[in-house]
């Protein structure tokens, strides 16, 4: 995708997000739940977003992951409930496994969800049918299919058609109010998708969360910066206080590093789409170790308003907590980092 088309698309995205329930306007309704907008998937398909990362040979736009990052950052900034990141990261991979599904992915007929299962989850596969439950399913509310990384050494990945028999969906909310489902499978027909695929799709989902975290931290940072410049205490703006200036400078450092990590991660995914991205453990653990603390600091310097439900900051903090935890939290990702291999590889 050329740079001009991408700019055009991102411009459209900002306008579309603003027109279809900005975060500020949606917050007022969060007590009733943070649901995906009706028709959002169809609209995103019409805008071409769902085909963005599909290759041109499959009627897609052939955007790189580095380019898709811009859209994901915008979606994160607006804390969209639709799991666009998961779609953009998984779609090209899925279209390589199942070329016949490319059109359905682009048109939103096929919407993928991914379960984050503990290693010891009680899912069992017998004669092509799965039994057990998945509590945390990213994108589960409006999905047509769910991918289940099985808790085995081979990295088996299953795909279950959610409109098929043996699937029950129970309502649940995430920490930030997003609606989701817990899935219970009773002899649900399941298709095996390539042995060894589970670690890769988990890392792709984790990469989507890193991209989302960039937008979330950026939105929180900008909101707070504007507030500190406007809020007067002791006869001058809070932004004149050196203690707060230093705190904001530190958050800015964290934000810049997170942006850089996400960019590097995207470049790795573009270079080797089927390999586990080397930067993922560092980037994902950064979300849990630094970005989350930075967001807590933003609440601190904002004062009481940062504690209120009607202000965006607390919501962004909770969303970041989710991104930090799912598909490998900081502790888990740190354990994956082999110091010598990471530092001496080149």
């Amino acid at each position: 995708m050329d740079a001009e088309s991408l700019d055009l698309l991102l411009g459209t995205a900002d306008r579309w997000f603003a027109a279809h329930g900005s975060l500020a306007s949606r917050l007022a309704r969060f007590r009733q739940g943070h649901r995906e907008e009706d028709g959002a998937w169809a609209a995103m398909a019409d805008l071409g977003w769902l085909a963005l990362t599909l290759p041109e040979t499959q009627e897609g736009f052939g955007a790189s992951m580095a380019q898709a990052l811009g859209l994901l950052r915008a979606a994160g900034r607006d804390a969209r409930p639709e799991p666009l990141g998961l779609h953009l990261l998984l779609a090209p991979w899925w279209a390589r496994q199942r070329p016949q599904h490319a059109g359905a992915l682009a048109s939103a007929q096929m919407r993928l969800a991914l379960a984050d299962l503990p290693v010891r989850a009680g899912l069992r596969l017998a004669q092509g049918h799965v039994q057990g439950r998945a509590d945390l399913v990213m994108g589960g509310l409006y999905a047509s299919h769910v991918l289940l990384p099985m808790p085995d050494a081979e990295g088996t990945l299953l795909c279950v058609d959610l409109s098929g028999p043996g699937v029950q969906a129970l309502p649940v909310r995430l920490l930030d109010g997003r609606h989701g489902v817990r899935l219970v499978f009773e002899a649900a027909p399941a298709e095996e998708v390539g042995v060894g695929a589970a670690p890769l799709v988990r890392d792709l989902a984790a990469a989507a969360l890193v991209a989302d975290a960039v937008g979330v931290l950026e939105a929180g940072f900008e909101l707070t910066l504007a507030y500190l410049k406007q809020r007067q205490q002791f006869g001058r703006p809070l932004s004149d206080q050196q203690a707060l200036q230093h705190r904001m400078a530190e958050v800015f450092c964290d934000l810049q590093q997170l942006i850089a990590l996400a960019g590097r991660l995207a470049a790795e995914l573009d270079a080797q789409p089927d390999a586990l991205p080397a930067t993922l453990p560092a980037a994902k653990s950064f979300v849990g170790r630094r970005a989350l603390r930075a967001m807590g600091q933003l609440i601190q310097v904002s004062g009481g308003i940062g504690m209120t439900e009607e202000y965006r900051l607390g919501h962004l903090y909770k969303r970041l907590q989710i991104s930090a935890t799912l598909f490998g939290d900081a502790e888990h990702q740190l354990q994956r980092i082999d110091v010598r291999r990471t530092l001496l590889a080149a």
Binding site: F30, R31, Q32, G33, D116, P118, V119, R120, D135, L136, P171, V172, R173, L174, L175, G177, R182, Q232, Q233, F234, G235, Q241, A243, L244, G296, I299, Q300, V301, G303, G304, G306, M307, T308, E309, E310, G314, H315, Y317, K318, Q321, I322, T325, L326, D329, A330, E331
Partner: protein, 393 residues
């Protein structure tokens, strides 16, 4: 237990335990464990039981209705009630309004208000912060003007913890429009049922309702509701906030939380099915929280001893507030990290808490506790107090 290991104090602890065993029923315990913001009836019922025993306000002087304990007994009491999961009383009445009235109120005011606090009959809230006066409390705009034998009050207040359950409010208002911002403030007691007051709930990020905004439109109170001297409100407020900071350390409740955290570590398992408590990193984390707690507790006991000897805590209390609030946050942050996915799943209904029982209480506390480094004078304000008042910087 070294510090409190004398025959007298062991006997006292046993006495407190016996009282708790008899009066703290399961309903009170369950409410305290499950909820962050307890309903008034729960708090009132427990406070009434304490009041009947003469233990309604352990930190008050005996002349005002306190039990006449020393700091060790007071701390043991706090510890035992925390470990038994007894409800916290009406903090605003017990720790803020009560001591302020004891220090500055008239005999008539003390006689009118203190018994209601001791026995859980009247609840209090604080009318200090305003939309444009948070950290900068001295710049508040709410006014009180004397008309005959009544004060007429106009303005707006915010962050009223428990305002929706309160009968009385202590209020800081400007009585003299000229001069230094700090100089023209006075302290009043305002009945929350008076016409002209309208409350608006403020929901917080834990999906709970504990704070409120208040609009004050021509509210008339008797002249006798002025506390102490006219124009001395700032001094009274500073003393009140310093006393509050000692309580803000919440040492005994934090101790209880760390013990609960250790239990959580034994209950949760890692991916291989081993208890988290067997992981050396988890044990180290618990140990460092415990060591930091002991440091906090030591400092708290020192300041409480000063208080029991009749001296105001002053700026040193800021150290307790800073370290106590930070530790509270670290404890729940640790819990969230260990809970992982279980800390992210909530019941379908708004405000109905986590799905997994192991996460109950932790998630709400983790979110709500972002406030402990902000309220009662943000930690940035506390650091400025230390730098200016103690370090001469």
């Amino acid at each position: 237990m070294g510090l409190f290991d004398t025959p007298e104090l062991r006997a006292f602890r046993a006495e407190v335990r016996a009282f708790l065993a008899e009066h703290l029923d399961d309903e009170l315990v369950q409410a305290t464990r499950a909820g962050l913001h307890l309903p008034r009836e729960t708090v009132a019922r427990w406070q009434a039981a304490l009041g009947r025993r003469g233990w309604g306000a352990p930190h008050w002087p005996a002349s005002a209705g306190g039990p006449g304990w020393d700091e060790a007994r007071r701390y043991i009491f706090e510890e035992e009630t925390a470990f038994a999961d007894a409800p916290l009383g009406d903090v605003l009445g017990l720790f803020l309004a009560g001591p302020m009235l004891i220090a500055e109120g008239s005999p008539a005011q003390r006689a009118r208000y203190l018994p209601g606090i001791l026995h859980g009959q009247e609840f209090w809230c604080q009318g200090f912060s305003e939309p444009n006066a948070g950290s900068d409390l001295a710049s508040l705009k709410t006014t009180a003007r004397l008309e005959g034998d009544e004060w007429v009050i106009d303005g707006q207040k915010t962050w009223l913890s428990g305002g929706h359950m309160a009968d009385q409010m202590f209020l800081l208002a400007r009585t003299e429009p000229l001069g230094r911002p700090q100089a023209g403030l006075s302290m009043f007691v305002v009945d929350m049922r008076l016409p002209g007051l309208s409350l608006q709930p403020i929901l917080t990020i834990d999906e709970g309702h504990s704070v409120n905004a208040l609009f004050i439109d021509g509210v008339r109170i008797p002249a006798a509701n002025l506390v102490g001297q006219r124009g001395q409100g700032w001094t009274y407020a500073k003393d009140l906030l310093a006393r509050e900071r000692v309580n803000n350390a919440q040492a005994a409740r934090t101790k209880r939380d760390i013990v609960a955290l250790e239990q959580l570590a034994r209950r949760l398992t890692d991916d291989a099915g081993r208890p988290l408590a067997d992981d050396p990193r988890v044990r180290r984390r618990l140990a460092s929280l415990t060591a930091d707690f002991i440091a906090l507790e030591s400092a708290v006991l020192g300041v409480v001893a000063e208080q029991m000897a009749g001296r105001e805590p002053g700026p040193a209390a800021s150290t307790l507030k800073i370290r106590g609030s930070e530790l509270q946050q670290r404890v729940t942050e640790t819990a969230m990290g260990w809970l992982g996915r279980a800390g992210l799943l909530l019941q379908p209904g708004y405000g109905s808490g986590p799905l997994d029982e192991a996460a109950t209480g932790w998630v709400e506390r983790h979110l709500f506790r972002r406030v402990v480094t902000i309220y009662a004078g943000s930690n940035e304000i506390q650091k400025s107090i230390i730098a200016k008042s103690l370090l001469g910087m």
